[in-house]
Subunit: 267 residues, 2 copies
Amino acid sequence: MKKNERISIISQVLSDHPNEVFSYNYFTNLLDAGKSSVCEDVAIVKSAFQIIGVGRVETFSGATGGVVYRPEVLESEEVALLEEIAKLLLEPWRRIQGGFIYYSDILSNPRYSKNIGRIIASKYGSKGIDYVVTTETKGIPAALETARYLSVPMGLIRRSNRVTEGATTSVNYISGSSNKIKTMYLSRRIDLKGKKVLIIDDFMKGGGTAKGMTNLMEEVGAKVMGICVIFVTKSPLDKLVDDFTPLIIMNDDDMQEAGFKVTLYSK
Amino acid sequence: MKKNERISIISQVLSDHPNEVFSYNYFTNLLDAGKSSVCEDVAIVKSAFQIIGVGRVETFSGATGGVVYRPEVLESEEVALLEEIAKLLLEPWRRIQGGFIYYSDILSNPRYSKNIGRIIASKYGSKGIDYVVTTETKGIPAALETARYLSVPMGLIRRSNRVTEGATTSVNYISGSSNKIKTMYLSRRIDLKGKKVLIIDDFMKGGGTAKGMTNLMEEVGAKVMGICVIFVTKSPLDKLVDDFTPLIIMNDDDMQEAGFKVTLYSK
């Protein structure tokens, strides 16, 4: 295999497996090349990924040496991506009776869910997250993409008790849209005890769902490392959870005039 | 920028954007290089991607020339990936009272949903799919990954009528697990008229949900190009839909002894 081809393959493998650690042995076998050649190749990939700002390629030396690609999003790219989504939300056809905005198509589009996942993973990449947790349904694509970029599993909380989940742990929460008390369920077959979890949700108004997820994580002994919510309404200013990271603030005080504002998490 | 770095960048961009067409201009600008250099670089990436069997890099010449990466899964890799999942299903702790198998964690794990998405996209990559459609909840990750690999949006069918979807088109269907008549809903804000859709579901026993999705697609004027279901029980042999592609057949006649068999779609 030629050096050029080796570099192409290393780039493809790392790009397709973010936050997965590969040993040098993996590449020497795959590429049928010596370790020193692979080290040189990796150095070039590192510099190339840096040039286009897609993230850091980290290397570990020694017997257990290896390579890992940690995706990052430049702040300018993050602003551009979130502004693009915020702009979509303003399209008049999205308005639904009762003050709701239709955005299911945006979050179900891999183009957007993927970028949202990259942005969130970029923020939490250094926190040692073991699990990404979300409550069905609309937040699933973004949570999955975040989990993919972080190379961890996703835990799925259900809004009804399904036979296919087996025994569950449940907590009650106040549903923002209806202001009723509802119940959320997590299968007891997912073991989150002692795990560092990142909670992701698509929408927050009062914060009831996020609060419910936080309580549920306490119940199962998980440690909440962060709550990231894609769309957060400006009012009420007092949410049921204190510490969360919104990606896009919906200024719903005066929606038609002011529209939405994009807020940035300070790193 | 050095030639090696250009090759690394092209590999990263193509790998991260499957089934997206990039013009040569895109790369000449990104890499600050002439078209003939970029053409040479792309040829090397093409050969490298072929060597590791991740798919084809196609090039179009002429004024509107461009490059596209079409992921493919080698048959041997497909068998290995599906057998790995089938083996997980056999773990005794997954058995739930009533003959169900717990698999929510498998489909919610990006490691598996990603590979399932790659496998399905590899099968339907040449069919000009415009939309991937699924019904909530457990099939969403695999459907999303398929959509991502095919570079098309995902349409999400709901099992209850949510205010946030606005006006909906609905059809009734027979739910396999409860044998009751239920209703599924698709937002009228998703326009599937004349679109070529691929239906994905996580589980099929009688085929009621798949039949319902097929009817719903007829209602909204979409053309169903295929139905792909991840887990399909062997019995009943007569399903409510004729033409579908199972990834894994669950031999539920004698589950404890025979376990599951992995079936392969013949290309």
